[in-house]
Amino acid sequence: MSRIISIHSFRGGTGKSNITANVAAQFAFKGKRVGVIDTDIQSPGIHVLFGMDEEQIDKSLNDYLWGRCSIEEAAYDVSDRIGSGSGSIHLIPSSIRVGEIARVLREGYDVGLLNEGFRALTHKLKLDYLFIDTHPGLNEETLLSVAVSDSLIIILRPDQQDFQGTAVTVDVARKLDVPHLLLVVNMALSSYDFDDLQQQIETIYSAQVATILPLSEDVARLQSADIFSLRYPDHPFSQAIREIVAHVEASG
């Protein structure tokens, strides 16, 4: 049975796409068939982590939403690019053409099509997992992604704005009956007491913290050019990614 996992953060800049790509890649590495869909139509970016640029993207999620193609026609098998082992990984990018981004913002699209697209993808590509990289904030397409997900992973940084925004997201997700909710703290200063931070967050949100990722210069240095956890499997960041993977596996 396939599972849909949304990855969300209340504000941008939390490292959401990077964590999404790494978690997805780890599942593929373990032999799973994985899909990654970039629903952050207004500011797409996850394709870069899988080594794709504008010229390599022909059909995109935008084309599907405007009825120009089927969803699987906008899926790219990027398994070879990342060396994902025995599994496979399929990326459905959003258009990075400025004109097409502007058109989405201007005209909008039928949000309901997204749900049909998710279902079609998991079925046609026989996916074990579909990861949805969402747009920050709580707009209609993000709410829809959350509503149809089996798991919601919320990424937050340890600062007051993210604490507040995450509280709202958690409450909204509960009202949508998301079966499994997981928190991931990213960019924590190494001087923090991680155990204390985890305990405080778990108490305040009544939700599990999968891991706390320390602020890492090593990760920043790679500048989204590659899947960090595949390239440096022994790095603490990569170990933390595998903890998220273990939590997702345990919940399903």
Binding site: A147, F163, Q164, V168, S191, Y192, I204
Partner: protein, 240 residues
């Protein structure tokens, strides 16, 4: 140490110049004999002469804030002091006293200024002496720049090691700069440690009133209620 060695060479040169019978400088330098504990000059006196130590030792000292004597340096045979007084007449910044019997050669500023007219070699040797001092200071400033860079990089242990190695330099001004650097590094380190403790006690806080209001703004929309209904149906279907 470099400073002292160079000064000793210059002292020998100056001695030679003043003992050459052919020049008019012969007899210009006077001999000063001091007994144990005899004061040569006090801090604040007008500085008007340069000294070369022939025998014995001279202790340079000042008064600490609490009133007790603070020895800055003790100089021995062949070493020189007071060369800056040859060019200007600033008051002495420290006092000088003999340790045991001491013999010094003294060159007064007025004799020096008169002497350089007939002996360019004298002017040259004094310029060299002052130049060595300037070079030494520039070298020290460069070292300071390096330490500051280390502080900026947070390499405190390394700075402390360098400062410690420079704390016992002969020059009291430089020694006090090293000491100020040491105290600054300690203060920065302490402040950083305090900040780290504050940061480590991060409190996770959520404004509950705002949270309720923001959640309501989303969940009370028609779109959301319809979506929640649809999601429930989808999950029920999947469950069956």
């Amino acid at each position: 140490m470099y400073y002292q060695i160079v000064m000793t060479d210059q002292a020998a040169l100056i001695q030679d110049l003043f003992s050459e019978e052919t020049t008019s400088l012969q007899g210009v330098m006077e001999t000063v004999r001091l007994t144990d504990g005899e004061l040569l000059f006090s801090r604040g006196d007008s500085g008007d002469a340069f000294y070369i130590i022939e025998t014995g030792h001279i202790r340079i000292f000042t008064l600490a804030e609490e009133g007790q004597e603070l020895t800055l340096n003790t100089l021995g045979p062949g070493e020189v002091f007071g060369e800056m007084a040859l060019v200007d007449d600033q008051p002495r910044s420290a006092s000088a006293v003999a340790v045991g019997f001491a013999t010094l050669r003294r060159l007064r500023r007025e004799d020096f200024l008169a002497g350089i007219r007939s002996s360019p070699a004298l002017a040259l040797v004094i310029i060299q002496l002052l130049n060595e001092r300037a070079r030494y200071l520039i070298d020290y400033i460069e070292r300071l720049g390096h330490w500051t860079k280390l502080v900026a990089e947070g390499q405190y242990d390394q700075v402390m090691g360098c400062v410690q190695a420079n704390a016992d330099v002969e020059d009291r001004v430089l020694a006090s700069v090293a000491d100020a650097m040491r105290r600054m590094v300690q203060a920065v380190q302490e402040r950083e440690e305090r900040l780290r403790e504050e940061v480590a006690q991060l409190r996770v806080q959520v404004d509950e009133t705002k949270r309720k209001r923001q959640v309501a703004e989303i969940t009370e929309t028609a779109y959301f209620q319809e979506l929640a209904q649809q999601a429930r149906c989808l999950r029920e279907q999947a469950g069956k």
